[in-house]
């Protein structure tokens, strides 16, 4: 606005002082404004926008959506902002980098597949006098797990114990021996005393007893509301994962046999997220 006002004032001044150079100056500012519109448009155009990966989230937190902006062959793209469902990214530049990843954190409100739809890319570069924007719909989706809500776990649901005595390595109950260090081993388990003595890294191995194998069952959750039930189950899935206890999940129509580990946890959470009752 200030720019156009200046242009106009100079025009008036040029006319009134009968000063052709001031008049030309105002014409120049006017032309520059028109060119800036084209420039701003050109800054945004030519980019290749592609969908990157998404990361699931718990309802009530933020799901991560990654977009990739790839620069066109001949020109740079400056100061591009992405806004998506209330999220506004920082400025991204495609100048020295050929490609940038835009990470968008979108508030995930509801359990299930979250499809935020179209997002907006915009830029005011180079002059900040006008804004070019584009709506893009890459049909991206992220899985939203139920919000974990602490609840009482009906002890009867802890049932169907497997045979006791099964030994699981990587437990943390009893010391079982040393083995040579693996780069994936936690530093907490390194035997530092042995390292000091022999200058070789050893990992302490512990044993645990796969004593309890719990079933988390839909039918045994107290709450009447579907979402609250799922939230409760979600809470316990996380709890069991944390303590590394084997657990199984049973929902109407879905049954995941007991297990441990990241993949197992993910399978359970996905089942909870995708669960559709009725």
């Amino acid at each position: 606005m200030g720019y156009l006002l200046t242009t106009f004032l100079l025009f008036i001044a040029g006319v009134n002082y009968d000063n052709s150079m001031i008049l030309n100056f105002s014409f120049f500012l006017g032309s520059l404004f028109v060119v800036s519109i084209l420039q701003t448009f050109s800054n945004l155009s030519g980019m290749v926008i592609s969908a990157g990966h998404t990361e699931p989230a718990f309802a009530g937190s933020e799901a991560k959506f990654v977009l990739h902006l790839e620069k066109s062959r001949r020109k740079d793209h400056h100061s591009i902002y992405c806004s998506w469902h209330g999220f506004k990214s920082k400025a991204h530049n495609l100048t020295s980098d050929h490609e940038v990843a835009v990470t968008c954190l979108l508030a995930a409100k509801k359990r299930g597949w979250y499809r935020p739809g179209r997002f907006k890319l915009d830029s005011v570069y180079p002059f900040g006098l006008c804004r070019a924007w584009t709506w893009v719909d890459l049909d991206m989706a992220a899985l939203v797990y139920p919000q974990p809500i602490e609840c009482e776990l009906n002890m009867s649901s802890v049932s169907d114990r497997e045979q006791e005595g099964a030994v699981a390595t990587d437990g943390h109950d009893d010391f079982a021996g040393l083995r040579t260090y693996n780069s994936s081993d936690s530093l907490k388990t390194v035997d530092w005393k042995a390292f000091a003595r022999r200058n070789v890294l050893y990992t302490k191995q512990f044993q645990g007893y796969q004593a309890k194998s719990s079933w988390l069952k839909w039918s045994e959750m107290h709450a009447s509301d579907t979402e609250i039930r799922l939230s409760g189950l979600c809470y316990w899935v996380l709890q069991f994962s944390k303590t590394n206890e084997p657990y199984g999940l049973e929902l109407p129509g879905v049954s995941i046999s007991p297990g441990i580990g990241k993949q197992h946890e993910e399978a359970c959470l996905t089942a909870l997220a995708e669960f559709d009752y009725g």
């Binding site: 200030g2 720019y3 200046t6 004032l9 100079l10 008036i12 001044a13 006319v15 009134n16 002082y17 009968d18 000063n19 052709s20 150079m21 001031i22 008049l23 030309n24 100056f25 105002s26 014409f27 120049f28 500012l29 006017g30 032309s31 520059l32 028109v34 060119v35 800036s36 084209l38 420039q39 448009f41 050109s42 155009s45 030519g46 290749v48 066109s72 062959r73 001949r74 020109k75 400056h78 100061s79 920082k90 400025a91 530049n93 100048t95 020295s96 005011v124 570069y125 180079p126 002059f127 900040g128 049909d139 989706a141």
Partner: protein, 676 residues
């Protein structure tokens, strides 16, 4: 605590900051000579302060301090200029505000405002000069300011200073075609209201009061007075008497031209012209006065003016910027040949009440001896100047109270005003209406352009006296002394060695060095072209252009022309900007074929899932159609080999390209063959 009162300062990129400081400096520098000296001190302090703020050594001054400084600044300008109106005071005020704004740059908006103000302050430089050099300077600074604006909108902190400068230059060059459209086609309207532009800059040039001695100083100025472009041949020097002023009053010491003769309009009925007119255009430098020099009798076009009874033209407003006007001069003319109005007759024959008795007697004697014929008397006076020991010098001795007597009978040394003054005085003593004319004579032809340069040292004074039946007759008494001056048309050759040695001829000294002289001439030519074609492009020139382009000039026609040309320029520019980039969105041939394949499957109710890879999709389809397994696999493998393994091949030429088109052909074939 103080921290919380100040809003946080937005992090300006270093590049933007450097450019901003450079912009501010370059914008203010050309104004320096016109600004109050204390403002320069403020300028220095503000710059240092701003830099320290950026380095986080200092904070911006608090609000009350800024308010105090701004009020102080306004008062200071008021005291220095005595007013807040007019260009000088106005620009000083603007710069005061502009400088103090530097110390209040908390937000991006503030920085943006400073950049916009820079444009404004820069443009005001044109109020004072529209010369080519000024314009080039303004253009260069404009690039820097534009770069600052761009840098402010850049978020990439790693970018070098030259990058925004380059972008700015490119953008400005892209704006030039549209600028030209605006320049030629945007309707030029006259002033909407009168701003009473009064410049306080002293202008050198002719003065409307002449006490012999003044012209000597004027002669030493090598400044350009005006340029003249002739349509045909440049006339010989003896015809180049550019009349500007009529000195009709003499008080014994001083000739003055504040006179009554200029206030009476000329009467076309008394004028008789003959012959073909000489056509030329005058490009007058600012004079700070209204005179419009021309060779009489002349008709002026292209400038608002009036013509007085003494046949001198006065512009309607003071010439405080370069102007140009078209002239048609008739060398062969007569005016008031049948008689001079009574009150003017009295004016043109009035002598000071006392003094110069010997000159009065000499005049009357000469008149009697010539048999009462003014022209014979003039000839007698010219003979007297030529035969007696009269010397032309720019450094004449001082004259006492009876200046005419002193010149005629004692010193006999002087320059044009002495001779012209004595001539008019004696004529008036004899009762013949006579007046001294001030203006320019001669001029220097430019070696390249077909135009004449008239400098301040070409200023001259001559006389006109009235002859019954002929009207006003011109006589140049100085010609009797130094005839070669009139013939060669320049003062340079006629200067005697003494005066040349004694006077500080800054401009003339340069002229003695051949190379400098040539450079000066070259530059003058470019400057002249600039002024002629760009600065003085006005509504008149524009109307002519419209007539050529449109035939009939109507507002609708102009609007249409402007819109068409502007639109065309923007369209071409836009297309160029977008077409020079490679279109990446286009589907390539392999994609098209693969889409066909997907389409076929879709008809059978098999859809590729979101994010499902080509090969995993293929595996799934193979499971559904085991009988087509082979062909489906080959389609998928061909497609992925074309899409994902050809990147290094792209750099090689020829063979691989044909290899690619081969595999596209076989892909096409395979998909066609697939019948589900």
């Amino acid at each position: 605590m103080a921290e919380s009162r100040h809003p946080p300062i937005f992090p300006m990129p270093r590049t933007a900051f450097v450019l901003l400081i450079v912009s501010v400096t370059l914008t203010v520098v050309p104004h320096i000579q016109r600004l109050p000296p204390w403002l320069l001190a403020v300028f220095g302090v503000v710059l240092v302060w701003r830099i320290q703020v950026f380095r986080q050594r200092l904070r911006f001054p608090p609000k009350w301090a800024r308010l105090f400084m701004v009020c102080g600044g306004i008062l200071g300008v008021l005291v220095y200029h005595g007013t807040v109106f007019g260009p000088d005071a106005g620009v000083a005020l603007l710069i005061t505000a502009y400088l103090f704004k530097q110390l209040e740059m908390y937000t991006r908006r503030d920085a943006f405002l400073v950049v916009i103000l820079s444009f404004f302050v820069l443009a005001t430089e044109f109020l004072f000069s529209t010369a080519l050099l000024t314009s080039i300077y303004v253009f260069a600074v404009m690039v820097v300011i534009t770069a600052t604006l761009i840098a402010l909108n850049m978020t990439d902190t790693s970018i070098a200073v030259w990058r925004p400068l380059k972008t700015a230059l490119v953008t400005i060059l892209q704006a030039v075609p549209l600028l030209l459209v605006f320049f030629f086609l945007f309707p030029r309207i006259g002033p909407i209201w009168d701003l009473g532009m009064k410049s306080t800059i002293a202008r050198t040039g002719l003065s409307d009061r002449m006490t012999p001695g003044d012209v000597a100083k004027l002669s030493q100025s090598a400044k350009l007075a005006f340029r003249v472009e002739f349509e045909g041949e440049i006339p010989p020097p003896r015809d180049r008497y550019w009349r500007a002023l009529i000195f009709d009053r003499f008080d014994g010491q001083t000739w003055s031209a504040q006179g009554d003769s200029s206030n009476i309009p000329y009467n076309p009925g008394y004028l008789k012209v003959a012959g073909e007119p000489m056509k030329y255009r005058v490009f007058l430098e600012p004079t700070g006065n209204n005179w419009l020099p021309a060779i009489s009798w002349s008709e002026l076009n292209g400038i608002k003016h009036r013509t007085s009874n003494s046949l001198v033209h006065y512009a309607s407003s003071v010439v405080d910027k370069p102007v140009s006007y078209q002239v048609e001069s008739y060398l062969n003319y007569q005016y008031e040949m049948m008689g001079v109005p009574r009150d003017l007759w009295r004016l043109y024959t009035t002598l000071p009440p006392m003094g110069n008795q010997r000159s009065i007697e000499l005049g009357r004697d000469l008149y009697r001896n010539s048999g009462g014929d003014p022209e014979a008397m003039a000839a007698a006076m010219m003979r007297m100047f030529a035969e007696e020991e009269f010397v032309y010098t720019l450094a004449p001795p001082k004259l006492g109270s009876d200046s005419i007597d002193g010149f005629l009978f004692n010193t006999q040394k002087g320059f044009c005003a002495h001779y012209a003054g004595a001539f008019v005085f004696m004529m008036r003593a004899a009762g013949i209406p006579a007046r001294m004319i001030g203006g320019y004579q001669g001029g220097e032809a430019h070696p390249i352009g077909n135009y004449l340069l008239i400098h301040q040292y070409d200023a001259h004074a001559w006389v006109e006296f009235w002859v019954n039946g002929k009207g006003w007759v011109r006589e140049d008494p100085t010609a009797a002394i130094a005839p070669h001056r009139i013939e060669l048309g320049s003062l340079r050759e006629s200067l005697d060695e003494m005066s040349l040695l004694n006077s500080p001829f800054s401009g003339l000294d340069l002229r003695n060095l051949p190379l400098m002289g040539e450079l000066r001439m070259m530059f003058d030519y470019v400057d002249y072209l600039w002024f002629k074609n760009v600065v003085s492009f006005d509504s008149g020139a524009q109307t002519k252009l419209f007539q050529q382009l449109l035939g009939k000039v109507t507002p609708q026609g102009i609007a249409l022309l402007l819109a068409a040309c502007g639109g065309a320029v923007v369209l071409v520019l836009g297309l160029w900007m977008l077409l020079t980039q490679k279109r990446l969105q286009k589907l390539d041939a392999a994609d098209k074929q693969y889409l066909r394949f997907l389409h076929k499957l879709e008809k059978m109710g098999i859809q590729r899932e979101l994010g499902e890879g080509v090969l995993s999709f293929s595996a799934r389809v193979q499971r559904i159609y085991p009988e087509h397994s082979e062909i489906i696999l080959s389609i998928s493998e061909l497609y992925s080999s074309i899409k994902y393994s050809d990147k290094p091949e792209n750099t090689k030429q020829g063979k691989n390209l044909s290899g690619k088109s081969d595999s596209i052909a076989s892909l096409k074939q395979a998909i066609t063959k697939l019948k589900l």
